[in-house]
């Protein structure tokens, strides 16, 4: 029983970060229609910027204040330059999706290369609140608990933003039907770029939280992109609450598998992914 509770709590802690990464990808793919394979690279960059800031004495959690807006701006500009260009040149949405994905690959190579040039490919880590706290039957690192709380808070704030502000409504309208939203007076190019920017910012924040808990490496991005892909497939493409809940579910499942056989944790994502695609490709919260 204690074991299950441990796995459950451990899964929730990592699940908060997964939720955040996945909500970002869900915005980029579900609304912006770009399956951004470089999503994890924004996360990696966020983690390294945090590392660099904390080495200069900035509190890692405060680094978010610099990190998130920076990622937002980068994402926004990228969408306005590259992806909007592809969108207007594509004859139909299907072509845009595949060309957008290929361009995202290009982005992945570029960001990876720049990161390796700056930081190489060895792991980096620092200590922050690395004390143990009793939670349930056993002890957990304080930094992980704080990271999870932080992730959940940001998820909730973003959900409130979507539900109650004017920009949030524009985003939800665009997610339902891009073309119609455009006809109703939503500035589509702006809203889609904003979604991409928010997606990048969430990846950046997730990067900060990961750097607080775990060692970081320039090659870590792709793995998180894969996890986020599984989560948004589980939660339903474009469904923000679906990604939020899906993150915790995947967190718990992978923690369980990792407990039993760490070498097969990634294989577990993939098998969940296969089953999902075959049984319910719309996801648990899909329309």
């Amino acid at each position: 029983m204690d074991l299950f509770l441990n796995i459950f709590i451990g899964g929730l802690l990592i699940g908060g970060i997964y939720s955040l990464v996945s909500m970002g990808l869900s915005l980029q793919y579900g609304v912006g229609k770009v399956y951004n394979i470089a999503h994890g690279e924004f996360l990696m960059f966020g983690a390294f910027i945090t590392y660099w800031l904390q080495s200069m004495g900035v509190n890692p959690l405060v680094a978010v204040v610099i990190n998130a807006p920076l990622m937002f701006i980068v994402g926004f500009i990228l969408y306005r330059t590259v992806f909007t260009g592809i969108r207007v040149r594509s004859p139909n949405p299907g072509v845009f999706e595949s060309n957008g994905m290929l361009a995202a690959f290009g982005l992945y190579f570029i960001v990876q290369n720049i990161a390796v040039l700056i930081w190489g490919s060895t792991p980096y880590s620092y200590q922050y609140l690395n004390t143990s706290v009793a939670l349930g039957p056993s002890d957990f690192h304080l930094n992980r608990i704080i990271a999870a709380v932080f992730a959940i808070a940001i998820g909730v704030i973003f959900y409130i933003f979507l539900a109650s502000t004017r920009s949030g409504k524009a985003i939800r309208a665009a997610a339902q039907d891009t073309a119609t939203a455009g006809l109703m007076g939503v500035d589509i190019n702006f809203v889609l770029a904003m979604c991409f920017g928010f997606g990048a910012a969430m990846a950046g924040i997730a990067g900060t939280l990961i750097s607080v808990c775990y060692p970081i490496q320039t090659t870590m991005g792709l793995g998180y992109t894969v996890i986020a892909t599984v989560v948004i497939t589980l939660g339903g493409l474009g469904s923000i609450p679906g990604s939020f809940i899906g993150g915790f579910i995947i967190g718990i499942i992978t923690t369980g598998v990792a407990y039993w056989e760490p070498g097969l944790a990634v294989a577990a994502y993939y098998i969940i992914f296969i089953i999902l695609l075959l049984v319910r490709p719309k996801g648990i919260m899909g329309r």
């Binding site: 595949s98 290929l102 361009a103 290009g106 190579f109 390796v116 070498g263 294989a267 993939y270 992914f273």
Partner: protein, 327 residues
Amino acid sequence: MNLSNISWRKLGLNAGVPLVILIALIFVPFYGSWADYGITLFSLFLVYIILAVAWAMFTGSTGYLSLATAAFYGIGFYAAALLYPAEGALVPLFVVVLVGAAVSFVLAFIVGAITLRLKGIYFAMFTLGLVLLMYQVVNYWLISVLGIRGIVVALESNEVIYYYLVGILVVSILVAYFIKRSKWGLALRSIGDNEEAAAHTGVNVTMIKILVFAISAALMGAVGVIVATKTTYVDANTAFNPMISFSPALMAIFGGMGNLYGPAIGATIFTYIQEILQTGSLKNYYMLIFGLILIATILYLPSGMMGLIQNLWNRIKGARRRALTRG
């Protein structure tokens, strides 16, 4: 202009040009002092040309973005590792090539049967996931179960490797050509245009997609076997490297997929750029340049180099025709 002229020109382009290229390729190892470097460089060209042609065979017409290339290529690696180890080959090399091709074919058939019902973007995610899964599972099996990291494969001479690659290339081109020219090629293009309409017009959409996907995978598996005898050391990192999924795709897109030459030209140009960059002072910028070219191609060269060349050619011909009629 009379009819016999046209058919001669067509024949020349369809059979003559490839034949000249083939003969030139056969003599590469005999070009004197340059031959040693030439054979290595040309082997590399061939590897990427085959991968790009095989990739475009399926994706070029159906539009299903497959990122599973590295999975099938990696199977070839492990076929070589298990059947053709350095301690003593169990079977002759051509049998290993056939086994690599056959196993890739079967895996692709199964994966295709499961996933080719999925819409485009899901298929891309799924195939990339397949590469990562194979990497994890093989790594787990080697390290945790067998307690080893890699396997050493028997080394083959450069000439043997080279001629095997020429052989696989010929097979690839012939297969690609016949698929393109046959009614199956037409069916593939109809699937790319509108899958639903194709199904309601009597095309067995699922079967054709799966078969062509499996055929292209078999070619990738065969290449993997040969490359393993060149690199000689096989571990999960070299076998299931996602770059092997990305590079041929970029090369084919860069070259243009509307035409059989497109992927081959794209592969040749890129492999050469890669060679120059990796030996020169810019070797750390390869991926960066690769990414920039990919984005630029998608934005500004949607039908690739061959599309560009064709457009220019049409324009020149048009200009000439206008000049003739005017004069």
